[in-house]
Amino acid sequence: MRKHPDTLQGTLDLLILKTLESAPNHGFGITLHIQNASDGALLVEEGSIYPALQRLEREGAIKGEWKVTENGRRARYYRLTTLGHKRLADAQESWAVLSRSVSKVLRYV
């Protein structure tokens, strides 16, 4: 029940948007992708992606619709909108700035 600090929330948004850049996916798929890509380090609690997904959809960055998976299961697939592409670009830029700044501070003697 802690409020996520903005950076963390922003970071999760970035990960989700990036995952969806290549292809639409459902919540579980996005989770798996992030987990695999980070070698299991990120997304320990799988469900925590859903508030972010809801919010991104509400803000218009992604759009979801119900489809059927290959296994015949109903799932909600999300894809990036035009706004989402722009958000992704902005978020990547911010992340780059952030990581550069943090590195600078750490290197400071």
């Binding site: 459902h26 579980f28 609690e45 799988e46 859903y50 508030p51 809801q54 109903r74």
Partner: protein, 888 residues
């Protein structure tokens, strides 16, 4: 609307989100299974990996913004479900709330109808009523000249109009003659008030004619009058009725809501001033600048000006106005110039009898009834506390699971809100039925009043306030308690309440007992007042007297020989079977006491007494015994000086030493009532008002004092059986003499009841409310004891096993409640004594701090307490010890 749409969309979204998450978990479980776990293990791990689905959903809902509204709905649903589990408790709580709120709303409705709601006319708050009075404050009325002068002040008033007092006439329609009341108004009366007709039209300036000429003889009927006497016949327009033999055409009927310038009084028949007078031999008042034809002069304020401004302007201009309107031929011009003009808001109509009589009593009644509400709320609070106690475990678990304090408070508050809503809805319905019933029962005997008891914003607002009050008092107490529950403590199986709860509960009970005692004492006082007023020694046989109001037959007025007319009428009446004696008097019995100043050259002081003109048979009719001298007979005529008979009390007061016979007295200001020679003293009688304490009366003989056809307006008929049974016969006899006809006849008891309206209402309500409060106290004490008993059941088992008898156990528990009772009663007694001051005006013949009543009420409460305590204890003491010992 958007919110509603979101609400509906929300439940769909609920399901969608849930489905999405389940789908995720299922897919994870599938993956887990492929990695080698068993199906069951796979699912369990998948859930664990997912995290707290419920908490995540909560976060989503919160973020989506409509969390609050739906969680309120959910809380309420939950509250209803949990309340359903303890049906008896809920039933009792809701019932007591319904009664308390119903009573409060009913009384407030009455208050609203009589004192608060303005007249149902256009823009009532721009209406003002004008009055003129002499230096002593006695109203003198505005004369024609003054009305014309004020009418010229267009800066102050956009219209000024008037209405006469009611005038009894013989109404003849379809060959049936009944008695009716006619009001004469000015031609702009209806347009000034902004009244639209219900049927036909109202009186307008077109019907009018200049002074001296007769205006059109058209009449407008009041709605209720039209319904009752003309059967609501829609073809009434254009038909003719005769008022005192003069033909009038009915041109309209006013609406149901408009009943007149006085709240509660119907304007039966309305005609234009000047349309009737000349036909019955009276002068046209509009021709006489000194005439005061109107009882009520009302004006509408000109637009843009305030009442205060006009009032100030009026006092500034008053000297000039008075100087310009001095009645010609007036003896004392200076006296007229000293009169005062005043202006008051006319929104509530002319201050009728209803308002003056009931204002204070209704306010007192409201406070009394509010007491009951307080008791019901306290009761409810105690019940909620008990409930919270029993649900402590549940609440503790909720707290342990992470429910925030706010959630716990909301939880308990939701239950209170449900109960409060149920209580107010039921109470509202109860009041809807109750207030007309109260009005009817209390008003028995008076001319039927038409009160508009419909609900309006004020009543609704009042109920809303009550709801909020109830919720605040009850809910917050219980909720705050609930939120403090320590989970660790709650989860223990020990059912002992913490010291704070028990103390709260006891304090609430003490408050309840104290308030109930005050209520019971008040009820006792009201009931005794009423009984005393009814059972007073009236000094005459109250149950055997019929009062008949008689009115002169319409038509030209011829001089009357009173001696022969009254003798003939009285002897004709005596021949009616059932009638013992009949006497004509100037005023009826029980019409209120109107004292005049009485002085005597032979007395050292001035006092006051009621003066009545009576015929000789009066004293025999009422069985008044002659104590000194004689009563009236043939010797008292116009050839001798004027005489009088006085009552015993007056005689002793004026002439404490020696006889009163032969002394002279002056009774009031009338010239013929000066220098009256006392010829007799009769026994005291209570003739005018049940609340009277002074029985000073002066009786004047009709043979000397009856001067106009209006002065002998009442018949006192003494009967040997039920007075109402002779009414029809009496009416026939009166009308057979062709000089007077009967306007209304009532038994003396009916008239007394009419005077006791307020007392009856108080007694009625006092009884019912104290009954309810006793019931609530009994329930409260029962609950407390039952709780204590259940707590110590095992202890009881041990005691019984060790040889305690039932009465020992009873005393044990009585000891506990007796402390609460003692404190409660003490506080209650003090409060009752203090509050006695406020009800002293409505209590009669008994002190508001009457010790007997207080002691009696205390004993009643103690009795109820013992009973309420006994029942649960008896039950426990009878149980088999082995059963009780196993009880956890």
């Amino acid at each position: 609307m958007n919110l509603l749409r979101r609400l509906f969309r929300r439940s769909r979204m609920n399901d969608e989100v849930r489905e999405e998450m389940e789908s995720h978990i299922a897919m994870r479980a599938e993956l887990n299974e492929h990695s080698g776990m068993s199906a069951k293990e796979a699912r369990v791990t998948a859930r664990r990996q997912f995290g707290n689905a419920v908490a995540i959903r909560e976060r989503i809902y919160e973020r989506n913004g409509f969390g609050l509204l739906t969680s309120i709905v959910r809380d309420l649903q939950h509250a209803v479900r949990s309340l359903m589990r303890s049906k008896t408790l809920v039933a009792v709580a809701v019932l007591s709330l319904i009664i308390a709120i119903g009573a409060n709303t009913a009384i407030f409705s009455l208050l609203n109808a009589i004192l608060l709601r303005p007249l149902p006319i256009q823009d009532p708050y721009r209406l003002v009523s004008l009055s003129q009075s002499d230096a002593t404050g006695r109203p003198t009325g505005l004369n024609e000249a003054m009305i014309r002068e004020l009418g010229r002040q267009t800066a102050w008033f956009s219209a000024i109009f008037g209405r006469s007092g009611d005038r009894p006439v013989a109404v003849e329609y379809n060959n049936l003659v009944t008695a009716g009341n006619v009001y004469a108004v000015s031609s702009n009366f209806y347009s000034g008030l902004g009244i639209d007709p219900f049927l036909g039209r109202v009186l307008t300036a077109d019907d009018d004619a200049p002074a001296g000429a007769t205006p059109s003889r058209v009449a407008v009927l009041g709605y209720q009058y039209w319904q009752q006497h003309f059967s609501g016949d829609r073809n009434i327009l254009g038909k003719t009725i005769r008022l005192d033999h003069v033909a009038f055409t009915i041109v309209g009927v006013t609406g149901k809501e408009y009943s007149g310038l006085e709240i509660g009084q119907t304007q039966q028949i309305t005609i234009l001033v000047g349309s009737l007078e000349q036909s019955v031999g009276e002068p046209d008042p509009r021709l006489n600048p000194a005439a005061t034809p109107f009882n009520d002069v009302v004006a509408r304020l000109a637009s843009g000006i305030s009442l205060q401004a006009v009032r100030a302007a009026l006092s500034a201009e008053a000297p000039r106005l008075l100087a310009a309107t001095i009645p010609p031929g007036s003896e004392n011009r200076d006296l007229y110039r000293q009169q005062r003009l005043s202006l008051d808001s006319g929104a509530m109509g002319s201050s009728g009898i209803l308002q003056m009589k009931f204002e204070r009593p209704l306010r007192i009644l409201m406070s009394v009834v509010a007491l009951l509400l307080l008791i019901a709320c306290v009761n409810l609070a105690n019940l909620m506390l008990a409930r919270a106690l029993s649900k402590r475990r549940e609440l503790g678990i909720l707290a342990a699971l992470g429910a925030g304090r706010a959630a716990l408070v909301r939880h308990t508050l939701a239950e209170t809100v449900v109960l409060a809503i149920l209580g107010v809805t039921g109470g509202f319905a109860l009041a809807h039925w109750l207030s007309p019933v109260l009005a009817q029962r209390a008003w028995v005997g008076v001319s039927p009043i038409d009160l508009n008891l419909s609900t309006d914003l004020r009543v609704l607002g009042f109920d809303a306030a009550l709801t909020i009050f109830t919720i605040s008092v009850v809910g917050i107490t219980a909720a705050v308690y609930a939120s403090r529950s320590d989970p660790a403590h709650a989860l223990q199986s020990v059912k002992m309440p913490d010291a704070r709860t028990a103390r709260w509960s006891r304090m609430l009970l003490i408050a309840q007992i104290a308030l109930s005692l005050v209520l019971i004492v008040m009820a006792g006082l009201f009931a005794q007042s009423l009984a005393k007023l009814r059972s007073r020694d009236f000094g005459f046989p109250v149950h055997e007297v019929l009062n008949v109001l008689v009115v002169p037959e319409p038509g030209p007025i011829t001089p009357v020989d009173w001696a022969s007319y009254s003798t003939q009428l009285e002897s004709n009446l005596t021949r009616v079977p059932g009638v013992r004696t009949a006497a004509l008097t100037g005023r009826t019995l029980m019409d209120g006491s109107f004292k005049v100043a009485v002085s005597s050259p032979q007395a050292s002081l001035t006092t006051a007494a009621d003066a009545t003109i009576v015929t000789a048979k009066f004293f025999r009719a009422l069985d008044l015994s002659t104590l000194e001298g004689r009563t009236f007979d043939d010797r008292d005529n116009h050839s001798v000086s004027n005489v009088a008979v006085i009552s015993e009390t007056l005689a002793h007061r004026l002439f404490p030493k020696g006889t009163s016979i032969g002394n002279l007295i002056n009774a009031g200001a009338e010239p013929t009532h000066q220098g009256l020679r006392i010829i007799g003293v009769v026994s005291d009688a209570l003739l005018h008002d049940t609340r009277q304490t002074d029985r000073s009366d002066v009786y004047l003989p009709a043979s000397q004092q009856a001067d106009s056809v209006w002065s002998m307006g009442c018949l006192i008929v003494r009967t040997s059986r039920d007075p109402s049974s002779v009414a029809a016969e009496v009416q026939k006899v009166v009308q057979s003499l062709d000089r007077q006809y009967v306007f209304v006849s009532q038994t003396t008891e009916e008239r007394i009841s009419r005077l006791l309206v307020v007392e009856r209402m108080f007694a009625l309500l006092g009884n019912s409310l104290s009954g309810v409060s006793l019931m609530l106290v009994a329930i409260g004490l029962f609950g407390l004891t039952a709780y204590n008993v259940s707590r110590r059941t095992s202890e009881i088992g041990v005691r019984v096993a060790l040889g305690a008898t039932r009465s020992t156990i009873l005393w044990l528990f009585l000891g506990q409640t007796s402390k609460v009772l003692a404190v409660g009663l003490t506080v209650g007694i003090f409060s009752a004594i203090l509050s006695g001051r406020f009800i002293s005006t409505v209590v009669f013949g008994i002190s508001p701090q009457d010790p007997v009543t207080i002691i009696g009420s205390t004993l009643v409460l103690i009795g109820v307490a013992i009973l309420a305590t006994y029942v649960p204890v008896r039950h426990a003491a009878l149980l088999n010890p082995t059963v009780t010992l196993r009880h956890e």
